[in-house]
C-alpha cells in the first residue's frame, strides 16, 4: 500500500502548525510517515494533549489525603471513601459528534466514559449528564420585540441569547424589514425544530446506551439557550466503585509481557474523532464529518466490562487501557509513556471489520468498546478463557519492550517508530493571549433603571408560572423518565431533587481476586451513601466568567449540602469556544480561575476532567460553560434529605441573605430578566465563597442534628421558584405527584434584612430598598429554603444565626395553593396550575 507524500497541505489538513510539524520532525530525526503524521495529529490535538489549557488546569486544587489517583495520572481519578472502598469518577464531553449525529454522538459519549471507569478496575454504578441545546419552544416570541427596541446597538457577543423566537437579532433589527421578519421567523421555526431533533436524539442516545448497559442515569441538568444552537453540549459522567487494592493502572509494565486487544473488530468508523473534536463546527461538518462519529454498541460494552472485571479478578493483568479518543494510537502510546517502557504491535493481528484497512486507518480508528490489555507473561490462557466465555474477539497483537519506542508494523513494513514518552509528554503547550472582551463593559454598566419593578405582588403569579414552564427551569421528567435510573438496586434519591443519592453495597464492588479475598476476607462492608450533582449556568459565566464559574461550584456544593452530603471531590468539563481568539481565551482563563477558587474553598479537589474547545458554530461562539460535577458523601441514611415539603403545619425557614446588596440585587443574568424582559445582561449574582461555605456547613450541621425535613436551594427563578418546587416536586408514582401547599409571608423578611436591623453587614451601604421582583425572582447566591417541625423553627433559626447565617421563618406548610404575602400585595397560585406548567412544559414542546 502506498502512502501519500507529506506535503504542507497534508500537514495543515492534520491540524498541525508548521512549528508543531517541525517539532515532530525533530523528535523523529526524520520526516514522519503518513501514519506517523496521523499519530502526531491526534496525540497533539487539544482533546488528547490539552495544549491550550494545560497551564490553566495546573491552577486547580488536586490534592487531598483522600485522593488515591489524582488528576491527569490515569483515565479517571479515585477517591477513598473509607472502609477500604474507593470511588472512581469523571466527566467527559461528546459535543461535536452529537452536533453531527445526536443519537450515536451521545450514546458513544456514555460508552466512552463508562469505559474510562471500568478501565480503572471499578464497577460503574451510576451515570449523570449535563446537556445544552438551542431553544425548543418559540412561545416567548413576543418578547423578541423588546430586544429589538432596546438592544440593537450591542455587539454580537452580547446578543447571542434569549431570543427564543430563534430569529437572529441582526435580522430583527434591520429597519423596515417586513419580509425579512417573516423569513427570520421561518428560520427560527426550523431552528427550533432542529433543536428539538438534537435534544430528542441526544436523550434517546443516552437512554439507549445507558439502559442497555445497565447503569442507572441518576442525575443531570439541561439548559436551553440560543447560544447552543447548532453546537449542543453533551457531557457524560460516570462513577464506579472498587476496593483500594483493585485499582488498575493504564501502564505497559513488564518488559516481555504480551499485549492483548480485546473487544469488537476495528472498522473505519470514528476515524480521527479526537482531531475532529478539536476544530470549529462548520456548516459542512454534518456532511463531511459523519465518518468521524463513532457507532456504539452497549451490548458489546456490557460484555467487555463484565469480561474485564472478571479478568482483573484473576490477577493476570499488568495494565489496562480503553481505546477511546485516538484509539489504538493513544492507548499504546500512553501506556508505554506511563510505564517508561516501549511497545511493539503488529497491525495484521488486529481484528478488522473492513477489508484492506491501511495502517493509518487502523491506528486512528475510534471503533468503540475496545480495550488494550497488558498481561503477565505466562498467563495468556486466562485471558483467552474469559474472553471466549463472553464470546468476545481477542488477539495478542504485541509485546512490551525496553526501548521506550512505540513501534508499529503492518504487512511486514515498519509504519510507526516514535519515542512514546516524547510524543505523550512533549506535546506543544501554548500560553494564549487573554483580552477582556468589549461586551463585559456593557454588562458591568447595565442597571435595572429601565426595567419596571412589579407594582404589586399579584402580578407575580403569572410570572411564576412562566418561569416554571421555561424549559431550562421546568421539570426534566420527559428526559429522565427515558433513562433507567433504578437498575443496580442502589438509587436512593432519584432524579428530581437537588442531588441524586446512591448507596454502595458490598455486592456493588467488583469481584475480588483469590489473593485479595484471602487477605481481607469476604467480609461485608458497611453501605455507603454517595451524592452527586452537576451544575453550570452558562449565562452567568458569559456575563462574568469568574463569578459565574465560582457560582457553578457553589451551586453544586449547595445541592450536596441540601441533600445531606459534604464534598469529596470534583470533575470539570470545560466547554469553551476557540482559545485562539484572545477575547474568548479570556473567558476560558477567567472561568478556570473561578472554578479553581470554588473547588479550593469547598475542599473539593479536581480529580480529572475534560476540555472541549472550539465550541462555536457559524452563528458564533457558545456561552463559556465550565460544567462542574461534585461528588459528596452522606454519613448516615437518616441524613439523606430531599427538596420537597413533607408535612402540613411544618415551618418554612429561609437560610441566607434574601437579596444581595448590589445594584443588580441578584437579577443580573437571571431567568426572570431573560424570560420576562428579554434581556440576558447585567452582572450575575455575586458569589462570596466564605458566605457559601458557612451556609453549607451550617445546613449540614442542622441536617445531621435531625432538625431539617426538607432543603432546597434557590437558583434559577429565585425564591419563588424554589418555594413552588418544594410544593410540587415530589413524585409518588406515574401521574401521581404529591402536592403540598404553603403560605409564605415575606413582609417581615424585607424589614429584618434592612440595614437598621444589623444583619450580615458587608461594609458598603446601598440605600435603596429591595425591589419586589428581586425578592421573588432574584437569584442571589447562598440561599436555601428548609422546612422543619414548627417547634424546631426557633432552634433552627438560632443555630443558623449563631453560625453567622441569616435565617428567618417565612411561612408554614399546608393547603393547596402557594400563597405569598409581601409588603406590596400578595399572590396565590393553585398548586395544580403550577405543577402543570412545570411538569408538562417540556413534554408539550416535544409533542
Amino acid at each position: 500500500m502506498t502512502e501519500p507524500a507529506i506535503t504542507p497541505e497534508l500537514i495543515q489538513k492534520h491540524n498541525l502548525t508548521p512549528e508543531e510539524y517541525a517539532h515532530a520532525v525533530e523528535i523523529l530525526g526524520r520526516t514522519p510517515t503518513y501514519t506517523e503524521l496521523g499519530v502526531f495529529s491526534v496525540m497533539w490535538s487539544e482533546h488528547c494533549s490539552y495544549k491550550n489549557t494545560r497551564p490553566l488546569l495546573k491552577t486547580f486544587p488536586t490534592k487531598s489525603p483522600k485522593i488515591l489517583v489524582g488528576a491527569g495520572e490515569e483515565n479517571a481519578g479515585i477517591i477513598d471513601i473509607g472502609d477500604g472502598i474507593a470511588i472512581a469518577f469523571k466527566i467527559e464531553s461528546h459535543n461535536h459528534p452529537s452536533a453531527v449525529e445526536p443519537f450515536q454522538g451521545a450514546a458513544t459519549g456514555v460508552g466512552g466514559i463508562v469505559r474510562d471507569i471500568f478501565t480503572m478496575g471499578a464497577r460503574p454504578v451510576c451515570a449523570v449528564n449535563s446537556l445544552r441545546f438551542g431553544p425548543i419552544a418559540s412561545d416567548v416570541a413576543a418578547d423578541a420585540s423588546l430586544l429589538k427596541n432596546s438592544e440593537s446597538g450591542q455587539s454580537r457577543l452580547t446578543l447571542a441569547a434569549t431570543n427564543e423566537a430563534g430569529a437572529s437579532l441582526r435580522e430583527t433589527s434591520l429597519p423596515g424589514a417586513g419580509n425579512a421578519d417573516l423569513e427570520a421567523a421561518r428560520d427560527g421555526n426550523s431552528a427550533v425544530a432542529n433543536n428539538r431533533r438534537l435534544f430528542s436524539g441526544v436523550v434517546s442516545g443516552i437512554a439507549h446506551y445507558g439502559n442497555c448497559f445497565g447503569i442507572p442515569t441518576i442525575a443531570g441538568e439541561v439548559y436551553f439557550d440560543k447560544t447552543y444552537e447548532g453546537n449542543p453540549l453533551v457531557n457524560a459522567f460516570c462513577l464506579g466503585v472498587l476496593r483500594h487494592e483493585q485499582i488498575t493502572r493504564g501502564a505497559a509494565k513488564g518488559v516481555g509481557n504480551p499485549v492483548f486487544y480485546v473487544g469488537p473488530a476495528t472498522g473505519r468508523d470514528g476515524l480521527a474523532g479526537a482531531a475532529f473534536a478539536s476544530q470549529d463546527l462548520t456548516a459542512e461538518s454534518a456532511e463531511q464529518q459523519r465518518g468521524a462519529v463513532q457507532v456504539g454498541d452497549p451490548f458489546m460494552e456490557k460484555l467487555v466490562c463484565e469480561a474485564c472485571l472478571e479478568l482483573l479478578a484473576t490477577g493476570a493483568v499488568a495494565g489496562m487501557q480503553d481505546m477511546g479518543a485516538a484509539g489504538l494510537t493513544c492507548s499504546t502510546c500512553e501506556m508505554a509513556a506511563r510505564a517508561g517502557t516501549g511497545i511493539e504491535i503488529e497491525l495484521d493481528k488486529v481484528p478488522q471489520r473492513a477489508p484492506n484497512m491501511s495502517s493509518y486507518e487502523i491506528m486512528l480508528s475510534e471503533s468503540q468498546e475496545r480495550m488494550l490489555i497488558v498481561v503477565h507473561k505466562g498467563r495468556e490462557e486466562e485471558v483467552k478463557r474469559i474472553f471466549d466465555k463472553w464470546d468476545l474477539p481477542w488477539a495478542e497483537i504485541g509485546i512490551i519492550t525496553d526501548t521506550g519506542r512505540m513501534v508499529v508494523r503492518h504487512g511486514g513494513k515498519l509504519v510507526v517508530d516514535i519515542p512514546a514518552k516524547k510524543i505523550a509528554d512533549e506535546s506543544p503547550v501554548y500560553q494564549r493571549e487573554a483580552v477582556e472582551p468589549a461586551y463585559i463593559k456593557e454588562v458591568r454598566a447595565f442597571r435595572l433603571d429601565g426595567i419596571p419593578d412589579l407594582a404589586n405582588a399579584a402580578e407575580a403569579a403569572d410570572i411564576l408560572k412562566k418561569l416554571l414552564a421555561w424549559p431550562s427551569i421546568a421539570s426534566k421528567n420527559w428526559v429522565y423518565r427515558q433513562y433507567d435510573h433504578q437498575v443496580r438496586d442502589g438509587s436512593v434519591v432519584l432524579p428530581g431533587s437537588d442531588a441524586a443519592v446512591i448507596r454502595i453495597k458490598s455486592d456493588s464492588l467488583p469481584v475480588m481476586s483469590a489473593e485479595l479475598a484471602a487477605k481481607i476476607g469476604d467480609t461485608k462492608v458497611p453501605e455507603k451513601l454517595i451524592a452527586m450533582t452537576v451544575d453550570c449556568n452558562g449565562g452567568y459565566v458569559y456575563l462574568d466568567p469568574y463569578e459565574g464559574a465560582k457560582a457553578a461550584v457553589a451551586e453544586a456544593c449547595r445541592n450536596l449540602a441540601c441533600s445531606g452530603a459534604s464534598p469529596l471531590g470534583a470533575t470539570d468539563n470545560l466547554n469553551m469556544p476557540s482559545p485562539l481568539k484572545p477575547e474568548l481565551f479570556w473567558q476560558i482563563a477567567e472561568s478556570v480561575r473561578g472554578l479553581a477558587e470554588g473547588c479550593k474553598a469547598f475542599n473539593a479537589p479536581v480529580t480529572g476532567g475534560n476540555c472541549s474547545l472550539y465550541n462555536q458554530s457559524p452563528a458564533g461562539p457558545i456561552d463559556p460553560t465550565p460544567t462542574i460535577s461534585v461528588v459528596g458523601i452522606i454519613e448516615k441514611p437518616e441524613h439523606v434529605t430531599t427538596q420537597w415539603f413533607k408535612d402540613e403545619g411544618d415551618a418554612i425557614v429561609l437560610l441566607g441573605e434574601p437579596v444581595e446588596n448590589t445594584p443588580m440585587q441578584g437579577l443580573g443574568g437571571s431567568a426572570y430578566l431573560q424570560v420576562i424582559h428579554g434581556k440576558k445582561n447585567g452582572l450575575p449574582p455575586r458569589c462570596d465563597l466564605e458566605v457559601a461555605k458557612t451556609l453549607h456547613t451550617t445546613l449540614l450541621g442542622l441536617i445531621q442534628s435531625g432538625l431539617i425535613k426538607s432543603a432546597h436551594d434557590c437558583s434559577e427563578g429565585g425564591l419563588a421558584v424554589a418555594l413552588a418546587e418544594s410544593c410540587i416536586s415530589q413524585l409518588i408514582a406515574r401521574d401521581t405527584p404529591r402536592l403540598i401547599g404553603a403560605t409564605v409571608d415575606l413582609t417581615s423578611v424585607r424589614r429584618a434584612s434592612s440595614r437598621a436591623e444589623g444583619g450580615a453587614e458587608t461594609g458598603s451601604s446601598v440605600a435603596s430598598p429591595y425591589r419586589l421582583d428581586a425578592l421573588l425572582f432574584g437569584e442571589t447566591q447562598s440561599r436555601v429554603v428548609v422546612s422543619c417541625k414548627p417547634l424546631d423553627a426557633v432552634k433552627v433559626i438560632e443555630r443558623a444565626k449563631l453560625m453567622g447565617v441569616p435565617a428567618a421563618q417565612i411561612g408554614k406548610i399546608g393547603g393547596d395553593t402557594l400563597t405569598v404575602k409581601t409588603a406590596s400585595g400578595e399572590f396565590s397560585a393553585p398548586l395544580t396550575e403550577l405543577h402543570d406548567a412545570w411538569w408538562n412544559s417540556i413534554a408539550r414542546a416535544m409533542a
Binding site: V487, D489, D507
Partner: protein
Amino acid sequence: MNFAVLQFPASNCDQDAVHAIRQLGHSARLVWHKESALGDTDCVIVPGGFSYGDYLRCGAIARFSPVMQAVKQFADNGGLVIGICNGFQVLTEAGLLPGALIRNRDLQFHCEFIHLKTVTNDSPFTNRIPTGKILRVPIAHGEGCYFADEPTLAKLKANNQILWQYCDTSGNVTDAANPNGALLNIAGICNERRNVAGLMPHPERACESILGSDDGKWIFESIFAALEAKSVAQAA
C-alpha cells in the same frame, strides 16, 4: 430456598435479583446461559436486562440458549419460574407464557414507579400479598405493552391467569395508570398450570425501604411460602 438467576449476555438485573433474594434471607446464584443444567434449584428467575442486546427482538435469541432448554424442562416438571421485565419477554418468546410484549404505545422507554393491583391470590407468586394491598414498584422498559389475541385474552381471564394490572393509587384499573398501553392493563400473568409467571415491573428493585418501596418483597414472600408448602408436602 435456592434460587437460580439466569445470566444471559447483557442481562443487567441479574445481580439485583440475587441481591434481593439474599437480602430476604434465601440463597441465590447466577447460572450462565451456556449451562445446560440448573443444578439444585427451587425457583428460576429470568432477570431483566437486554439479553443478547435485544437484537432481532426482545428475548428472541435468549430462548435458544442451552439454559432455556433446562428451564423448559424444569417448568414442565412443575418447577417455579418467574420472568421479570426482559425475563417476561424471554418467557413469552420461549412459549412458556402466552402473548407478547411490544413497543410502549408512546414509543418511549419508561422508568417510573407504578401501582399494581393483584388480581388473584391464587398463585405461588401472589399468595402472600395482603388482600387489597396496592403494590408500588418501578418499571423500566421500552417494550412492555402486553399484547395477545382475543381468544388468548379470554382464556387468561377464564383461567384467572392475570396476576397483576396497572392501577392508580386507589386500585382503579384506568387507562391513565397504564404506562405502556398493555391490553387490559396487564402487568403480569402466569401460565395455565400456574407455575410460570412473568411481569414487566421490577419487584427486585423494591425490596428495601431505602430504595423508596419494599412492596416488591410480597411477591418473593409468596414464592418462599409456596416453596415451603411444596417441600412440606413432599416431606409428608
